[in-house]
């Protein structure tokens, strides 16, 4: 890890205000003898890190890294996916000697990480989203979790809870990950009752509080009595759904404090394990795979504890399916299955398991989802 960059850092510590150096070193020296190589890790978030959602999930992972020995954690929030994030990455490297960066927003990858990484071949860039391909620089890695399975389990809880046989989904944009979540949510519910339909409303924005609340109201107006979402901060959707008396399935992070008894369960990211693992590997000088993915079994995602409204029957099916998914090779998308325009997605006997790369370019909504991909 003795790259020229760490020299920069030492030089910096020597020249800035003494109080500053003392403050940042004081934190380290208070700990018992530093056994591991000192490592500076930077986390960059696109929104506020306590948004009950996407950014909070990452910040919880960063908090786990902070507790590790010999690690200095840098965090920066509300960094837009523009020139700004390139500057932030370079600033963390040049001014703070960061050796490992976690730019966590999806849109940071192309062009921003791809632009900066070649300039700093000794720095490791780990991006959440799974976009790395072998043509990209070797000092970039990407990781992602099969959270669609979490939405499938959400769907099972929802399928048991719904009385109207209509469930609702507030979504940001019709991109493959979101479509996969919507489809999984409905398919999970349909294992309970094949007559269930799922209404989807796209807001077109990752974070727009009033629009998300309006979308939730529109879903409730059309009779949806279980609502989940895929937007950056699910707070508004949860609270509005609760005010309309609808059950809530969470997403990104645990929203049970917001929804109380109406919270069924939720599909959460569990970045702490991945982050501490990657940091430990870097400290030990071991390589990290450029392409890291996992699901429930690998601990990349987890489910919120089941709420009080979940029936025993639902609980039994939920746990059985969770065990099946954790065993590996599970497929939510399996034949015979059509999309909601009548095209065949999977013929009888055909199945796309959770790890299937074809799912990552999903451009359809399955039969039973009311909504359009454009």
């Amino acid at each position: 890890m003795n790259t020229p960059k760490s020299l920069n850092r030492r030089r910096f510590l020597g020249t800035t205000a003494a109080s500053l150096a003392a403050a940042s070193l004081g934190g380290l020296s208070a700990r018992p003898a530093v056994a591991q190589t000192a490592l500076t890790v930077g986390f960059i978030y696109v929104g506020p890190k306590d948004d009950f959602g996407y950014n909070q999930a990452h910040a919880e992972g960063a908090a786990a890294v902070k507790a590790m020995e010999g690690v200095t954690v840098l965090e920066e929030e509300n960094v837009p996916e523009s020139q700004d994030v390139q500057n932030t990455m370079e600033s963390m490297i040049n001014f703070d000697g960061a050796q490992l960066l976690f730019p966590t927003s999806f849109g940071y990858f192309n062009p921003h990480i791809l632009e900066v990484a070649p300039k700093y071949p000794d720095i490791r860039f780990e991006h959440a989203g799974g976009l790395w391909t072998p043509e990209n620089p070797a000092n970039i890695g990407s990781y992602f979790g099969y959270i669609g399975m979490g939405q499938y389990l959400n769907g099972i809880a929802a399928g048991h809870a719904t009385a109207s046989k209509k469930i609702g989904f507030v979504a940001a944009k019709p991109i493959p990950q979101v479509l996969n979540n919507i489809n999984s949510f409905l398919l999970g519910a349909r294992t309970v009752d094949p007559s269930i339909t799922c209404q989807v409303i796209f807001t077109g924005e990752w974070s727009m509080a009033v629009k998300e609340a309006e979308a939730t109201n529109a879903l409730a107006d059309q009779g949806s009595d279980v609502i989940t979402c895929h937007v950056d901060g699910p707070k508004g959707v949860c609270e509005t759904a609760v005010s309309r008396g609808a059950y809530v399935c969470g997403y990104h992070a645990d929203q049970s404090p917001l929804a109380g008894d109406l919270y069924l369960t939720g599909a959460e990211w569990n970045w702490a394990g991945i982050y501490t693992d990657m940091v430990a590997k870097t400290q030990a000088g071991e390589p990290i795979d450029n392409f890291v993915r996992g699901g429930l079994a690998e601990g990349f995602i987890k489910m919120s504890p089941l709420g009080p409204a979940v029936s025993d029957a639902a609980r039994a099916q939920f746990e059985a399916t969770r065990a099946e998914i954790e065993a590996g090779g599970f497929a939510a998308i399996k034949g015979p299955l059509n999309d909601n325009r009548g095209n065949v997605i999977a013929a009888a006997g055909e199945a796309f398991v959770e790890t299937d790369i074809a799912l990552e370019s999903m451009d359809y909504l399955v039969e039973g989802v009311l909504g359009s991909t454009r």
């Binding site: 800035t16 523009s82 020139q83 700004d84 932030t88 703070d96 999806f106 370019s361 454009r374």
Partner: protein, 350 residues
């Protein structure tokens, strides 16, 4: 003596800047944080090294052009606050044109892209001017409404008609050919948009201060009725100046697409149009002042990250800082003409 008269325009804002720093220092002291550390970090992150300048300049590049979209119409007394719309549509036009001209040599292709961005941006804000002249529609509200409409159109097309099917999880137009990407300037890794912005400021200054058009615009800005009585072509002036401002905003969109993003996508909607309003007003709509003001703003923003990390302060600290400093700079405008030392009379007496 001439030097002293000109010095007023430098001394007062600088003094106000220092007063703003002092006010913010008080805020920090109340919080128990060190102002010395704060300003050392702002200096370090924004202005102290080649990397700092790269960071600062690349942040200020879009602000300069966005500010011209406010300053030019302001010369006619118009308050245009919807430059954001021209930026995103200019970027879309440039991105789409780039796909059509991929076979042409780089410079020619980029020229066409820039032209497309400027034309669409110019039409968009020019329409604001035309609505004002032809229908009496207030330009402040129409430009704001049109900015929201522009963003909706932008999203509609980027995620529909012009979407690259390969852009799976981040809807974008197809990536531009490498030959159509505006590169960095020599010695510093900030793109040529900085130079374009500086040139645009100089051109606008010449237009406003050294041509009869600029003179006519100023008369019309002071009093439209009087200008009409004198037979000045108020209508064409309004439409021309708004369109030119929009063209510069469109050019900012071109640079964002060609130099930064490599395609038109949602990341283009970054609020530069709104920050540009502030830059223009702080510069008192003087094109030559726009450039340094944008650099100051860019430098402040460049330091935000370091301050978050080193001082354990939230990212909003820089917003508070900017707000305080800018309010005091604007307040200092009341001081112009109040100091005897800057007046001709003082010097004639000696």
């Amino acid at each position: 003596m001439r030097l002293m008269l000109g010095a007023e325009a430098v001394v007062i804002p600088l003094g106000a800047l220092l007063a703003g720093f002092a006010a913010f220092s008080l805020f920090l002291l109340v919080l128990g944080k060190s102002p010395v550390e704060f300003f050392a970090l702002v200096w370090k992150a924004g202005f102290s090294s080649a990397f700092s300048w790269q960071n600062t300049l690349s942040r200020s590049a879009p602000l300069v052009l966005a500010a011209l979209c406010v300053a030019l119409p302001a010369r006619l007394g118009l308050v245009v606050i919807g430059g954001e719309g021209a930026i995103v549509l200019g970027g879309l036009a440039a991105g789409v044109t780039g796909l059509a001209v991929g076979g042409l040599p780089g410079v020619l292709g980029m020229g066409l892209m820039a032209a497309a961005g400027m034309v669409l941006g110019g039409l968009w804000i020019g329409a604001v001017g035309a609505l004002r002249i032809k229908r009496g529609v207030n330009e402040t509200i129409s430009s704001l409404l049109m900015a929201y409409i522009a963003i909706a159109l932008f999203n509609h097309f980027v995620e529909g008609l012009f979407r690259d099917p390969g852009s799976l999880n981040k809807p974008s137009t197809a990536p531009l050919a490498e030959s159509l990407r505006v590169g960095d300037m020599p010695f510093i890794s900030a793109h040529w948009g900085v130079v374009a912005g500086a040139l645009a400021c100089i051109l606008c200054w010449i237009l406003l201060e050294k041509t009869t058009l600029g003179f006519a615009a100023r008369i019309a800005g002071d009093n439209i009725r009087a200008a009409q009585v004198q037979g000045l072509p108020v209508g064409p002036l309004v439409i021309g100046f708004t369109a030119l401002g929009g063209a510069f905003a469109g050019l900012a969109g071109f640079f964002e697409v060609s130099a930064v993003h490599g395609s038109a996508n949602g990341s283009l909607i970054a609020g530069y149009g709104y920050t540009g309003i502030l830059v223009a007003f702080l510069a008192r709509h003087n094109p030559l002042a726009i450039f340094p003001v944008a650099i100051l703003l860019g430098g402040f923003e460049a330091s935000s990250g370091l301050i978050q990390r080193r001082m354990d302060l939230p990212d909003a600290t820089i917003l508070v800082f900017q707000g305080m400093v800018f309010i005091i700079i604007l307040l200092s405008e009341a001081l112009y003409g109040r100091f005897a030392i800057f007046t001709p009379a003082y010097w004639e007496r000696r």
